[in-house]
């Protein structure tokens, strides 16, 4: 059994996907959270000067999605065939595209501009993405096949980021997507983690 050490800042951010997947797979890992000086010291030792990083049996992996995919494979949640794995990858890439669109909103400092961007997000950007994702999720609430994959978990994590930023029922009316959320949050390992995880600002 490999030993896993996940390092990130003190929040959910780009590491929560990994944590949810470790939980779903019942895989033990060291959940390291750093800040300030610890980060300054660690940064030059990371492959690309960024977090999260995952150390597994002496190898360092960075990039949130690469880490997520690796843990998903370990947890048997990557998709059963190459094609299914690709469908899962595709969903996760699509979520990244959406994340990129929303980045300017998360980093905007001007309050007025921020309000405008929030409006754009809730009235246009999110609905058009959710319309697409609704068609990609099955009626049973899975993006790939008929069981939980990291695509479902990633979607769940992503909604967490949005809700943290803007309260509201973003998935009202999206039957399949609501089912996805339910499937993820009721996974026993994940349900336990959601109860126990540290409450953080981001």
């Amino acid at each position: 059994m490999p030993s896993y050490k996940l390092t990130y800042f003190k929040g959910k951010g780009r590491a929560e996907l990994a944590r949810l997947l470790f939980a779903a797979g019942g895989i033990e890992y060291e959940d390291v959270r750093v800040e300030g000086e610890q980060w300054a010291e660690l940064k030059p030792k990371t492959p690309m000067g960024q977090l999260p990083i995952l150390e597994v049996d002496g190898t360092m992996i960075c990039q949130g999605k690469a880490i997520g995919r690796l843990i998903a494979k370990e947890a048997g949640m990557a998709g059963k065939t190459h094609l299914n794995q690709a469908r899962a990858d595709m969903i996760c890439d699509g979520l990244d595209d959406l994340g990129m669109k929303l980045m300017p909103l998360f980093t905007e400092k001007d309050e007025n501009k921020k309000e405008e961007m929030k409006k754009e997000m809730t009235e246009k950007t999110l609905p058009s993405f959710f319309d697409l994702f609704e068609k990609l999720a099955s009626a049973e609430g899975y993006f790939v096949g008929d069981s939980l994959t990291w695509a479902d978990v990633n979607f769940f994590a992503f909604l967490g980021v949005i809700s943290g930023f803007n309260q509201g029922d973003h998935l009202q009316g999206y039957v399949n997507l609501n089912k996805v959320m339910g499937n993820v949050s009721s996974n026993p390992g994940i349900a336990k983690w959601l109860k126990e995880r540290p409450v953080t600002q981001f």
């Binding site: 190898t59 990039q63 690469a66 370990e74 190459h82 690709a86 990129m100 697409l132």
Partner: protein, 202 residues
């Protein structure tokens, strides 16, 4: 034996690494290139409303990184084992970040903004990226293990794309990366494709 149909616009853009991978793997595929006028009719029939898409065995995949990873697996170029595959994924994620910035600069219509984006690429993004990945490539010129993987090919391509936008000898003092480029260009399938591929503006 699967049948593969890749659809994109008439250019290299976000489809070229997949074409390079098909070439490296000696895998036959239909290389469909559509004109602008054909796009509106096709768009609603794609998972996320953008190209490229890959149709394989009745399934449609979108998201260029997903498609490339899938073809890499089929071509035996994804990496051996989960951890190596994750290392390859990690490099590709970093490559794609840079490619996104190259694409943004390429498509920017405002000449002043374009100039700024190109400057940022040349002075900041590219040098930082190249410094990071020089350390990740080994002296034999591979990012993962001791043979070609899709991470080497993705790197080759982003350099080709960025070089078009920011001329210069970016690999001066980068012996490992120089070897990576050579390894990619001298792969027989890729060498043949580089000679024969259509010449396009992007």
């Amino acid at each position: 034996m699967s049948s593969y149909k890749l659809t994109y616009f008439n250019g290299r853009g976000r489809a070229e690494t997949t074409r390079l991978l098909f070439a490296a793997g000696g895998i036959k595929y239909e290389d469909v290139r559509i004109e602008g006028a054909q796009w509106p009719a096709l768009k609603p029939n794609t998972p996320f409303g953008h190209l490229p898409i890959l149709e394989v065995d009745g399934v449609t995949l979108s998201e260029s990184a997903t498609i490339a990873r899938f073809v890499a697996k089929r071509a035996g170029l994804a990496g051996e084992g989960d951890v190596q595959q994750a290392r390859a994924d990690m490099v590709v994620d970093a490559v794609r970040d840079v490619f996104g910035k190259v694409a943004a600069a390429f498509f920017e219509k405002d000449e002043t903004k374009k100039g700024e984006l190109i400057k940022e690429l040349a002075e900041n993004t590219l040098p930082t990226f190249l410094n990071n990945v020089e350390k990740l490539a080994n002296p034999s010129g591979y990012f993962v293990g001791d043979s070609l993987t899709w991470s080497d090919i993705e790197f080759y391509y982003v350099l080709e794309a960025a070089g078009g936008m920011c001329p210069g000898d970016h690999l001066k003092d980068k012996p490992n990366l120089t070897k990576v480029v050579t390894n990619v260009k001298t792969n027989p399938g890729i060498a043949k494709w580089l000679e024969e591929r259509p010449q396009t503006t992007f």
